[in-house]
C-alpha cells in the first residue's frame, strides 16, 4: 500500500508537468483544451486516491498530512471544474479573435504549470521548496494576467509582478530567519528546513528570531493572500486577466498563500516564548474586511468588484484563524472551502456574461434575468451565497465565526459584523442592477458550460443545509490541530 500513496503523490505533481509540455507542443486549441480538462481530472483522481490509501512517512521534501490533504483536494477539484469552464471560455475568445491559437497553447501550458506549482507548495514538507513553488505560481499567473496585452492587462501584470516579487522576497528573508532559528537546535543542512522536524523541535528555537521571521513571512505571503494594505495587485490582476484565471486566483492561489501563513503560525504556536501570531492576523484580517467592504461600493467593473469581495473573504478567513480555537478554526476552514467554491462559480458566470455582453462595466449590464436567465439566476445564487445569506454554506461559516468571536472577544465581533453588513449592502445593490431592470446589450444565446457553475453552487447549497458527519469530524480534527 505504501507504493500506491507514493504513486499518488508523484502523479499529482507529474501529471500537470507532463500535460504542460504536451499542450505546449500539440497544435489545435480544441485538442489541447480537452487535454487540459483530462489532465486536471487525472490529477483530481490522484488527489482523491490519497484519502483511500494509508499515508507514507513524511520525506525531506514532500509530505501528506491532515491539513494539506484538504487543500490539495480543494485545489485539484476547482482546478478541474475551472478547466471545463476554461474550454468553453477560450472557444469564445478564439471565435472573437481576442486570443490566437498560439496564445492558447501558452495559456494551457501555464495553466498546468500553475497547477503543478500550487500542488507542490501544498505538498512541500520543506520551507524552501514551498517558497520556490509559490514563486513559480506567481510567475505563471503574471504571464497569464498579461495575456491580452492591452494597456490595462500590461499594467495589471506589471503591478502584480513588482508587488508579488517584493512579497516573495520578504517571504524568503523570513524563511532564512526560520532556518537561522532552527540551526542551533537541528544542526546544519536540510533537517532545519523540514516542516515535520521544525514543528517537533520548535519549543527549543530562539523566540526572538522566530518573531521577526514571522513578521516577514506574514507580510510576504500576506501580499499573496491579498490582505490589506498589501492587496493593491489583486483587483487589477483579477479584472484584466482571462476569467478562468480570476477564478483560479481567487479560489486557489490565495488559499495556497494562506496555507503557508497557517503553517508558520503553527510553528510559532509550538514555541512558548514566541509572540502570539493571532492578534497580527486578526488586525490584518479585520482591516481587509472593512476596507474591501467600502471599496465594493465604488466599483464599476464587475470582475474588479468580485476581486474586492475576495479580499474581504480572505480577510474573514485570516481573522478566523487569528482568533483561533477549535470553533473559529473550524469556521475558517469551512469558510475557505465555501469561498473557493462560490467565488469560482461567480467568476464562471461573470466570464460568460462579460463575453456575451462584450463588456465588464456594471452599468452596461442590465436585466440578465430576462436575457440570459440561467446565467442571471446563477449569478443571483452566487452573490446571495457570497453575501452570507442562508441557506448557503457561507452563512454557516460566518455564523459560526461570529458566535465564537462573541464568546471569546466580543468587542472584536462589532467591526466584523459592521464590515460584513457593509459588503452585504454593496453586493445586493449591484446585483439588483445587473440582474433586474430593463435589459441592455446583446441578447444572443450563449454557449456556456453550466455544469461547473451548477456543481459548485449545489455543493455550497448542500453544505448550508447539511454537513455530512464524517466531514465535520474531519474538519474538527484539523481545527484542533491548528490550535
Amino acid at each position: 500500500m505504501r507504493v500506491s500513496a507514493d504513486l499518488a503523490i508523484v502523479a499529482i505533481l507529474l501529471i500537470p508537468l507532463v500535460a504542460a509540455a504536451l499542450v505546449a507542443l500539440l497544435p489545435g486549441y480544441r485538442l489541447t483544451a480537452r487535454l487540459n480538462v483530462l489532465a486536471t481530472l487525472a490529477t483530481l483522481c490522484a488527489a482523491l486516491l490519497l484519502f483511500l490509501v494509508p499515508r507514507p512517512e513524511p520525506g525531506e521534501y514532500l509530505m501528506i498530512d491532515d491539513l494539506n490533504i484538504v487543500f490539495i483536494a480543494l485545489n485539484t477539484f476547482v482546478g478541474f471544474t475551472t478547466s471545463v469552464f476554461s474550454a468553453s471560455y477560450i472557444a469564445h475568445e478564439i471565435a472573437t479573435g481576442r486570443l490566437t491559437p498560439v496564445h492558447i497553447r501558452f495559456y494551457h501550458a501555464m495553466y498546468q504549470l500553475l497547477m503543478f506549482a500550487m500542488n507542490l507548495a501544498l505538498l512541500a514538507n520543506n520551507i524552501g521548496v514551498m517558497w520556490v513553488a509559490v514563486e513559480l505560481a506567481t510567475l505563471t499567473t503574471v504571464l497569464m494576467v498579461g495575456i491580452y496585452r492591452t494597456h490595462e492587462a500590461l499594467e495589471a501584470a506589471w503591478k502584480y509582478f513588482i508587488l508579488g516579487s517584493v512579497g516573495i522576497a520578504l517571504a524568503l528573508f523570513g524563511t532564512i530567519l526560520v532556518y537561522m532559528a532552527a540551526r542551533p537546535v537541528l544542526g546544519e543542512g536540510v533537517d532545519a528546513m523540514v516542516w515535520t522536524s521544525l514543528i517537533a523541535r520548535a519549543a527549543a528555537f530562539d523566540p526572538a528570531l522566530l518573531n521577526v521571521a514571522f513578521v516577514f513571512l506574514l507580510l510576504g505571503y500576506g501580499t499573496k493572500v491579498g490582505l490589506a494594505p498589501l492587496h493593491a495587485w489583486l483587483p487589477d490582476a483579477h479584472a484584466e486577466g482571462p476569467t478562468p484565471i480570476s477564478a483560479v486566483l481567487s479560489g486557489l492561489l490565495l488559499n495556497v498563500a494562506l496555507y503557508a501563513v497557517l503553517r508558520f503560525k503553527l510553528l510559532l504556536a509550538a514555541n512558548p516564548g514566541a509572540l502570539a501570531p493571532g492578534p497580527l492576523m486578526v488586525t490584518m484580517g479585520l482591516t481587509s474586511v472593512i476596507f474591501a467592504a467600502f471599496m465594493l461600493y465604488r466599483r464599476r467593473d464587475i470582475k474588479r468588484m468580485f476581486a474586492y469581495s475576495s479580499i474581504e473573504h480572505m480577510g474573514i478567513i485570516t481573522f478566523a484563524f487569528g482568533i483561533g480555537g477549535p470553533l473559529a478554526n473550524f469556521a475558517g476552514l469551512l469558510h475557505m472551502v465555501m469561498h473557493s467554491l462560490t467565488k469560482s462559480a461567480i467568476f464562471f458566470a461573470v466570464g460568460h456574461i462579460a463575453q456575451v455582453k462584450g463588456t465588464q462595466k456594471i452599468a452596461d449590464i442590465r436585466g440578465l434575468s430576462v436575457t440570459h436567465p440561467w446565467l442571471g439566476w446563477s449569478l443571483v445564487a452566487g452573490v446571495v451565497a457570497i453575501a452570507g445569506l442562508p441557506p448557503f454554506g457561507i452563512f454557516m461559516s460566518e455564523f459560526l465565526l461570529l458566535s465564537s468571536t462573541f464568546a471569546r472577544e466580543s468587542w472584536l465581533a462589532i467591526p466584523l459584523v459592521f464590515g460584513l453588513l457593509v459588503a452585504f449592502g454593496a453586493l445586493l445593490l449591484r446585483l439588483n442592477g445587473l440582474v433586474f431592470g430593463e435589459p441592455t446589450g446583446s441578447t444572443a444565446p450563449v454557449e456556456a458550460s453550466y455544469l461547473p457553475m451548477f456543481a459548485h453552487l449545489a455543493l455550497v447549497f448542500a453544505a448550508g443545509i447539511y454537513l455530512p458527519p464524517p466531514l465535520v469530524t474531519w474538519f474538527q480534527h484539523i481545527a484542533d490541530l491548528l490550535g
Partner: protein
Amino acid sequence: MSALVFDIAHLLAGGLVLVSFLLLYQARLFALLNIFALHAMVLTLSVAWQAYVQDAPHLYVTAVIALTFKAIAIPVALHRIIQRLGIHREIENVVGGGLTMLAGMGLVALSMVVMLRVTASADPLAREDLAFALSVVLLGMLMMVTRRNAVSQVIGFMSLENGLVLAATGAKGMPLVVEFSVAFSILIAFIVIGIFLFRIRERFDTVDIGALDEYRGERR
C-alpha cells in the same frame, strides 16, 4: 586567522550596503546600471568568501551565477534595451535625493537595531551578515518606492535580491541556496524579458510607471 576571516566578510557585506547607497542617488540610467554591476561584483566576492570560509563548494555556484548573470548578462541586456528604447535620460525621483539618503540611513539603523537585538544567540559572523543583508533588502525596497521608472524599479528589485542572497549565504550550511539563486535568476530574466516583450515603450510611449497609472481599469 579567524579575526581576519571575520573582518573580510564584514568588509564585503558592509561594502554591499555602501553600494546600495550609491544606487539610491544615481540620476542617470547608464550610471545606475554600472553601479548595479558593481553591486553584483561585491556580492560575488562576498559569496565566494563565504564559500571559502564555510568550505561549502556549492556556494561557488551561487557566486558564479551572481557574477555571470547579474554582474554581466543583465546589465548588458538592460543597457541594450535602454538604447533601443532611447530612454537614457535623467530619472525622475518621486522623492529628492537628500531625503532618500536620510530615509536610507534610517532604514539601516532600523535593521541594525532589530537584527542585532534578536540574533544575540547566533554566531557573530552570521549576525552581522544578517543585519547588513536586511539593510540591503530595505534599501532595495526604498529604491523601488522612490523611482518611477520601470528599469530602475527592476534594478531596485535586483539589489534587494542581492541582499537575500547575502543573507542566505551567511546562514551557515543552509540548503537550497543555489536553487534559490537560480529561481531568482529566472524571475529576473522574466522581468527583463517582460520589459522588452511587453514593449512598455511602444505601448505607453514611456517606461515611466506614472504614465501607466492613467490606464486604470476603471476608466474603460
